[in-house]
């Protein structure tokens, strides 16, 4: 597995955890255990995303740091087979 795929898989794993905690917290806003887990996975996600962006480019347009060419439009798009 190459580094790009490995990092993206990590990000998706953290996103999954964060999404489920998000939905749980919506109806259990006082749960300190869930709040602590949310912060934990948020930090892990930030590290993984920063690393991904620095090596492979933006996941969202506002993360772009291009000077020469707008790399946002580069292939592959998410629905395209690898």
């Amino acid at each position: 597995m190459n580094e790009k795929v490995r990092l993206m898989r990590k990000i998706k794993e953290y996103d999954f955890a964060l999404k489920e905690l998000n939905l749980y917290l919506d109806t259990h806003p006082n749960c300190r255990r869930a709040l602590a887990l949310f912060k934990k996975y948020k930090d892990l996600r930030k590290k993984a995303v920063d690393e991904y962006i620095s090596q492979f480019g933006p996941i969202s347009p506002e993360q772009s740091n291009d000077d020469q060419y707008w790399s946002w439009i580069g292939d592959p798009w998410p629905w395209e087979r690898r």
């Binding site: 898989r9 998706k12 998000n22 939905l23 806003p29 996941i59 347009p61 629905w79």
Partner: protein, 140 residues
């Protein structure tokens, strides 16, 4: 507002095109229990909800359903890519292809186009949450 992220919620990498399968799976995009109906149901119902818990969860689930729309669409795109005309006819995809080629268009497996009649929005928290549980096949 919404912010796009250039990634699928879960990866989709289909090796073999299969238009016959796509004809069934398309209901999960534009059918009565599809992701599009789910997303629009939650995102329309949320405005008049009286509690933060409900405004929050309808916003966040409605948003997640949009990610599901994209995954189902990726499946459909990959299942119908690079088909020959003979394969399109043999797999019964010609009835779709004549109107849309391989462009994505939200319909039910029956061919009925997507319609807002697939969901309700009644402005009442109990009524709408019951509709949501029925739509999501949830049990209390």
């Amino acid at each position: 507002m919404w912010q796009y992220e250039k990634k699928l919620q879960y990866p989709v990498n289909i090796k073999n095109p299969n238009a016959k399968l796509a004809k069934a799976i398309i209901s999960q995009l534009g059918g009565p229990d599809g992701e599009l109906a789910a997303s629009l149901r939650y995102l329309n119902q949320r405005y008049v909800m009286p509690y933060g818990e409900v405004k929050g969860i309808l916003t966040d689930i409605g948003t997640e359903e949009l990610a599901h729309v994209e995954m189902i669409s990726a499946i459909l795109y990959q299942l119908t890519k690079d088909l020959t005309i003979d394969e399109i006819k043999a797999q019964g995809f010609d009835t779709y292809f004549v109107d849309h080629t391989t462009g994505l268009y939200p319909i039910a497996a029956s061919g009925a186009p997507f319609t807002a009649t697939y969901f309700q929005s009644k402005g009442d928290v109990i009524t709408d949450l019951n509709e949501d549980m029925a739509a999501d096949d949830a049990h209390t």
